[in-house]
Subunit: 166 residues, 2 copies
């Protein structure tokens, strides 16, 4: 798919807004379960996403951004865990961190693919910068994952959630 600059900006704004919303949910959840360290990480990621969204909106100002469909920007949920645990397994900081990481990696890949296919010079430059930013986020999450105890209940069936960044 070859994006116009306007389509790209619409995607980027929607993806940052989505990330901000999801990080806030994760932060609240971690705080409710008294994991203040991981809650603070997620709040920081929430702030980064908002700042990034606002800076993209500045770029986008002269353009009317197209409306997107939900599946074009939403975070992908982790595969469902069967049985009684159901929705609760994201309460484990390890799983919440991997969920976030998986979506940062998806965003990184999206930006990289736009950069690779861009005809427009500004589009290529912006997409490349955004990809590098998502890569840093994924790396921060990797550092946290490395020092977070692995719970008994994870979603090992999903290869993407452990996929290396490069």
């Amino acid at each position: 798919m070859s994006y116009t600059l306007t389509e790209f900006l619409a995607h980027a704004v929607a993806m940052e807004q989505e990330a901000a919303d999801r990080y806030l949910e994760l932060a609240d959840m971690m705080e409710a379960h008294r994991n203040d360290a991981v809650a603070e990480l997620f709040r920081q990621m929430n702030r980064f996403s908002i700042m990034h969204r606002d800076s993209i909106l500045e770029h986008a100002k002269p353009h009317a951004l197209p409306r997107l469909n939900a599946w074009e920007y939403r975070w992908r949920s982790p595969p469902e865990v069967g049985g009684e645990e159901g929705f609760d397994y994201l309460l484990e900081p390890y799983n919440a961190l991997r969920y976030a990481r998986q979506n940062e990696v998806r965003a990184m890949k999206y930006y990289r693919s736009v950069a690779a296919e861009a005809q427009d010079e500004e589009l290529r430059r912006m997409a490349g910068e955004f990809a590098a930013e998502e890569r840093e986020h994924a790396q921060s999450l990797d550092e946290w994952i490395a020092r977070t105890p692995r719970p008994s209940m994870t979603w090992d069936e999903d290869p993407e959630s452990h996929e290396p960044i490069d």
Copy 2:
């Protein structure tokens, strides 16, 4: 997980609202690509979801419903197709129908699991009824899928999207 009636009603309302929103997007997309028959099916599913949401809200009236996290009710996107096609492959009616079907089946399973685990009699009855309703939706979609041409680009890697209903 054992739900209270209020938690269950909150989930059901959020799931129906989500389904209504997604069906509207799918209907608009099909219409833009001049598939009026599938567009009309999706508009009908959108109306069913809204009616169901409103009837649940009537039940829920005496209760203050808890706020849910996004991953507790959102539709699961189909697995990503690599390469240039990217986000566009839901334009194929066959893929759009399977995407909807997959999420109806998820809703059905959710309601069934609540019914199976419910301690409360009213909760068990409602969850059972809702499961039967989602099952009918999935069956309608199956009939459409059976008579819709299969495009070259599908997501065969996902076993859940062809999973039998029972």
